[in-house]
Amino acid sequence: MPINTPRNRFVLSLIVAGVGLALFLSGSYRNWTSGWGQPWEFLGVLVFVAGVWYSVDSVKKGASGDPENELPPQGWLAWLGLIFSSACLVTLWLSWSAFSPHTPVWNNADAGQVGRNLGLLFVSWAILSAVLRRRWGSAVIYDERDIQIAFRACNMGRIAITASVIAIALMLALAPSSWLASFSFPLLAQALMTTLLIGHWVDCLMLVRFYSHDRQSAEDG
């Protein structure tokens, strides 16, 4: 049974990305020291970005190895968006308690660390997207068909945002006031930020689904 298959390489790169994300979120490596100051500061995010790069690259090449069935540029970028928005959502979910105290954000060191983590993820996302775009050079990376696909995916993202906002409104309206008293303003702000991210995540998920379906149709002939 062959081990070095595209599918196995894809799974391995996802595992590496998962380990990188776990390292990044745990943050314990930031206390490791060596002779050069703080060389481990970006270890987690670097492992994560490397894992994401190879997973997206293996997705681009396609399961069949046929260049005609390669994922189009926008599908590639959608995969990247899905992975990074998932990482941002996981970061927000795991840091929920950091926003609970009724203290201003500027006096909350844990909330500040969450903000820096999110900022690092967004910057890595932007850099990786820019690098990917440069790989295509002057080639066309989207056209009228991509716009149609993006429109359909965007509609699903908007539905997800609307549903999430309605859920928050219902929670605020129906939950007991004693329970709501534990809600701080930063926590509500985080809930709304999560809502926006959920919308983008659904958008990316649907894009990935549409492009995968499209490629599957091409492979089926």
Binding site: Y142, R145, D146, A218
Partner: protein
């Protein structure tokens, strides 16, 4: 099951009549991605009027030679 459209085309045939023009070459000439040409040839995508004209122009044949429309029953 891929969606089929009532607009069919002869792109593949005219591509080969144009000295075996590749899908990528046609895509570059028309300003679209190769995946769009693949989807067009498989009748999985109905192009805009402008793209239809661009394809016909790239293949140097009248648009009605490349694209056909079948009225629904």
């Amino acid at each position: 099951m891929p969606a089929r459209h009532s607009i069919t085309n002869q792109i593949r045939r005219y591509r080969f009549e144009q000295g075996e023009m590749t899908q990528q070459a046609l895509a570059n000439t028309c300003g679209v991605t190769r995946q769009t040409i693949i989807a067009l040839e498989a009748n999985r995508y109905a192009p805009s009027l402008e793209l239809a004209f661009r394809v016909a122009n790239a293949l140097q044949v009248p648009i009605t030679e490349v694209f056909q429309w079948t009225p629904p029953d």
